[in-house]
Amino acid sequence: MENTIKIKSRSVWSDAWDRLKRDKLAMVSLGVIIIYAVVAILSATGLLAADWDQKVGESYMAPTTEKISLLFGTDIFGYSVLRKVIHGTQIAMSVGLISTLIAIPIGISLGALAGYFGKWIDEAVVWFYTTFSSVPGIMLLMSIAFAFGKGLTTLYIALGLTSWVGLCRLIRGEVMKHKNREYVQAATAIGAGNGRKLFIHIIPNVIHLVIINASLQFQVAIKSEVILSYLGLGVTGQPSWGTMIDDAKQELAQGVWWQLAGATFAMFFVVLAFNILGDALRDALDPKLKGK
């Protein structure tokens, strides 16, 4: 296909990208997410806020502009809340990313299999997710924590394993629709097998839903980390936004609002950015919904 690449053409994707580029709010959001990602990477590699567990002052010092590290005040140990917030970015982004990466393959594969093959495979998958979603999510989360112990890994797995149902349902429905589209019939007519029809034809046509779903899943995971921290399933040994907000429940009455504020704001912007980007992606990738 050497010849083809030279000729510039606009695929659905490049069209979508063009549309996305025109959406200023979406681009700002993308920028915010990139900044968070960079902060997370810098923090993970130890270039930023590696010294979060160093005392920078007394316990519970109020925010002050004197020193950068005291910008958000200190926590109970006298650690810099700012550094903890920065370090928490790493946890939040990794929780979002990894749990999404766990949920999506499960959702796509089960959804696609059920939607494409139908019959008993569909029945089995539908049974499986009906069963799965009729048990309260919190029970699943807690028992996954029982099985894997506490910590970051459990957080990834728990959030990943409990959030595939929505995507699975969506993909199943879409695949069912596409299965009967004429272009798939046409593929049958030219002799394409099931694998080819599913992977080359149908999945690329529903994959945009996955991208939209992933951007929303990402922020849901970040938010869930807070709830899980409250339930005692959070991260240990390092600060996360969830544990910071959880700490705040004992601090607020005492007038220590900066841990809550710091973590809430840090979270607010990235979740906001993901939400806006998710919307914009939907508009861009699903042009029939444009402008809604």
Binding site: W127, F128, T130, T131, F132, S133, S134, V135, P136, I138, M139, L140, M142, S143, F146, A147, Q219, K223, V226, I227, Y230, L231, W241, I245, D246, A248, K249, L252, A253, L260, T264, M267, F268, F269, V271, L272, N275, I276, D279, L289, G291, K292
Partner: protein, 314 residues
């Protein structure tokens, strides 16, 4: 009509495999994976003999298949026995706890649904205008704050600082319950307003571009009339799906809200049971929510036929 009864019956029969699945799931999760409750029940002075006795009493020494069968049995007889931890009858526990849960969740759900539909209609009507953008952005912003942060802040600010509400507690009876449940309800409404408005707006806009809307306008109907009669009625179909399926979860109540506002509801009970490995309670809650889930999907289907004449139960 015979067809619809068959359908309903068939769907109810579907409960059987789902319940078996749920039983298997919770059996695996809580009997095999969760920690042994015996020692916990006996407290700090336990001896190995006593632990063994308790395990026998709880039926934990039976072969696994028998234990699974016990779970299945209780799922179909609805006889959940007593809590291991509190010795309370689980049926009574659920009955007593369901009321406070619903006292908060039901009005909250009704308010938030009505409010979001109203707002969604408003912004759909003014789509593309300033008010639309404002509401959309506010929705997203509201959704971007952790629910825990809302609770902590609202309780501190509105109940404590402003003294508008009781800080916490729960008193049965009307209207004495009002000052206790209003703040949790408000927080619930605020938490669900964002996603709800967004969803309903999309649903309504999906309908607004349909051909029949053009026909209705060509008849000379005003935009509002078209929106409120034609569009809304059609939008009810996805709206119903969205709302009805939330209903079984109302029973569980709002976890964090119940904890923070000391509302003795089912969500709170579930969390406690999880923390105490109170398997019978968890089992009961899982089975109950599975039954509720399947039942409400069925109700949803039946309601479809009511809002959408094209749908027949088949």
């Amino acid at each position: 009509m015979n067809g619809s009864w068959n359908y309903i019956l068939r769907r109810l029969l579907y409960l059987i495999p789902v319940l078996l699945g749920v039983c298997l799931l919770i059996f695996v999760l809580f009997n095999l994976v969760a920690p042994d409750p015996a020692a916990l029940l006996l407290g700090k002075h336990a001896t190995p003999e006593q632990i063994l006795e308790v395990r026998q009493n709880l039926g934990l020494t039976k072969p696994l298949y028998e234990q699974y069968f016990d779970v299945v049995k209780s799922a179909f007889t609805f006889d959940f026995g007593r809590s291991w931890k509190t010795k309370q009858s689980i049926t009574t526990m659920i009955r007593l706890r369901a009321i406070p849960s619903l006292t908060v969740s039901l009005p909250a759900f009704v308010f938030s649904t009505i409010l979001s539909i109203l707002f969604a209609l408003l912004v759909a009507y003014y789509r593309g205008k300033g008010i639309d953008l404002f509401v959309r952005v506010s929705c997203i912003a509201m959704m971007s704050i952790s629910s825990l942060a809302y609770i902590l802040f609202f309780q501190w600010f509105f109940a404590y600082k402003m003294e508008w509400f009781e800080i916490l507690g729960y008193e049965p009876g009307f209207p004495s319950v009002l000052p206790f449940i209003s703040l949790p309800i408000i927080i619930w409404v605020i938490l669900s307003l964002g996603p709800d408005i967004r969803f309903y707006r999309t649903v309504i806009l999906d309908e607004i571009y349909q051909d029949y809307v053009r026909t209705a306008k060509a008849k000379g109907l005003s935009d509002r009339k078209v929106l409120l009669k034609h569009v809304l009625r059609n939008a009810m179909i996805p709206i119903l799906t969205y709302t009805v399926i939330q209903l079984p979860f109302l029973l569980l109540g709002a976890l964090l809200l119940e904890s923070f506002f000391s509302i003795p509801g089912l969500g709170d009970m579930t969390i406690e049971a999880l923390n105490e490995s109170d398997f019978p309670v968890l089992k009961a809650m899982a089975i109950l929510s599975a039954v509720a889930y399947v039942t409400f999907t069925l109700i949803q289907d039946i309601l479809y036929t009511w809002v959408d004449p094209r749908v027949k139960l088949n």
